[in-house]
């Protein structure tokens, strides 16, 4: 009888302990309760290793006018515009439930200024928040948002401010809408980021030729889903070779094979967004598939798969 070592799916990202490397991506799983039954979030043994909640701002936001969604070939354009309940309501009404669930809770934050990011970070120095993901890359809000993620200096300033204000691991979420992802990645690393996650959505648009207007009321939206996977993989490859901090891969992941591609490209964990919305059960499939692949190939942990 052969002794088969069970692969270890757990990862530790700068102090953020994950039972497995599959996270629910921000904006595609609400505040968790919306999807709990379908993805397997529960008191014990949750399926995903963690959840990144919908981007939270200081004040509640109404979001953009509809239409907010457009389907594209193997992709989805959204212009939600960061509709959210605001940090106060989040702490009072959403976090208690999240605390009750056995999974890592990562709070995605978005400010209109460096100061707002810092203020959000300090308000979230509370039990039950396991890490922050700093959204410097949302294409759907006018002030802040993408501007921070497109400029290495601004990205560094936000990173520094959040790093100073927070007692949690700080993950900076990068925008793919840049000429050189490595430059931004290094700027964030030098400014003290504990980890990077990428990619956020690619800026895109669609036109309704019958109504003779852009499909989205906001004109532009963020492209996600399988269509963007090749771009995301390339950026994860580039970023993971540019910095020494851990990288969380995001973008179009819809199967365990996709997740393995990201691990091989240099990610130590992945977030799954669009695919979870369309097929919630995919989370279980991805987690199981990664474990099985690791067992079959003798990989003892996620990092060891990197090419």
């Amino acid at each position: 009888m052969e002794l088969i070592q069970q692969p270890d799916l757990s990862v530790n990202i700068a102090g953020l302990e994950l039972a497995n490397p599959v996270l629910l991506a921000s904006g595609t799983c609400g505040y968790g309760a919306e999807v709990a039954d379908l993805v397997g979030l529960s008191l014990y043994d949750s399926v995903p290793g963690g959840i990144v909640v919908k981007g939270i701002s200081l004040k509640p936001r109404l979001g953009n006018p509809p239409p907010r969604l457009a389907e594209t070939p193997c992709g989805l354009l959204n212009s939600i515009g960061l509709e959210n309940v605001g940090v106060e309501v989040f702490l009072e009404q959403k976090l208690p439930w999240l605390r009750s669930v056995n999974t890592a809770v990562i709070v995605n934050i978005l400010g209109n200024s460096v100061e707002e990011y810092a203020e959000l970070a300090s308000l979230l120095n509370v039990a039950g928040v396991d890490a922050l993901e700093v959204n410097i890359s949302c294409p759907n809000v006018r002030e802040g948002g993408v501007a921070f993620g497109a400029d290495p200096e601004m990205a560094a300033r936000v990173t520094k401010a959040v790093r100073n204000a927070s007692i949690k691991p700080v993950i900076i979420k990068l925008s793919p809408n840049v000429t050189d992802i490595a430059v931004i990645a290094r700027a964030c690393e030098e400014a003290g980021a504990d980890a990077l996650s990428l990619i956020n959505t690619l800026l895109g648009m669609a036109v309704d030729i019958k109504k003779r207007r852009p499909v989205l009321a906001n004109v532009f939206g963020g492209l996600s889903g399988p269509a963007v996977k090749p771009v995301a993989l390339r950026m994860v490859w580039q970023a993971s070779r540019a910095v020494n901090i851990p990288i969380i891969g995001i973008g179009g992941i819809s199967s365990w094979q996709d997740a393995i591609e990201f691990f091989m490209a240099g990610a130590v964990a992945v977030e799954v967004g669009t695919a979870v919305m369309v097929r919630p059960s995919v989370v279980q499939e991805i987690v199981s598939g990664i474990g099985q692949f690791m067992e079959e190939t003798g990989a003892f942990d996620v990092c060891s798969m990197r090419l």
Binding site: E34, G63, P66, R68, E71, L76, V85, M277
Partner: protein
Amino acid sequence: MSRHELECGVIDNRAVTRDIFLLRLDAHELTLQARPGQFCMLEVGEYAYPLLKRPFSIHDVPDENEIEFIYRVAGKGTAMLSRKRAGDSIRVLGPLGNGFGWNQSRHPVLVGGGLGIAPMLFLARIISEKGLIKPVVILGARSSAELVSLEAFKAIDCRLCLATEDGSLGQKGFVTTLLQEIVGDSEADMVFSCGPMPMLKAVYEIAVKASVSCEVSLEAQMACGIGACLGCAVKSADRSSGQTGYLHVCKEGPVFDGADVSWN
């Protein structure tokens, strides 16, 4: 809330008019949970093309094993759906949404226009079978061919009123004309409606004038169907000064009190 993500076998999927199809799925897990006015998200192709599941109202739950949908081939996704055959299987997420508040009404009037007929069959059946009430059911379409599932409606204990734009069946004209009459001289206490926005608006205005409350089932482009993405927003009426200025069709709806909806 008990909803499921399932592979359901296709019992039958056939054209009832040139471009309207009746889909029957084997889905006993869903039938017990389903309420009239709820919908399901159906995977119409192979993941990931088209990427999104499509929302369809539950048309009927004729028995504990079967769930029915009626749909028009409107684009690529529904065209792919129309090619599914008995023996194929379809991934389904449901039942979703809130459903109609039929049990608050003693004299309900149901108004379905076009494919808005879809949720009315199940609603009429439940009102009649569970509520032991004989609802008024007003159905309209462009022509008699599009007044689908008439036999099924006739088998339910309801008062059926029909209108077609071309006069090929029932009254020539719109459902709103019929509604006007019925609301005027009946004890109607609630209107439940589904159909295109201009029709819903007219229905709502008639109800308001008659001081009858009115629930409408709305549509919006959807991605998740479960309240996770906030994509299916529609503007809410000013008076509903809740947390946001938007309603989310998949979760707070698809059925709304007409008074909560922005009609402009």
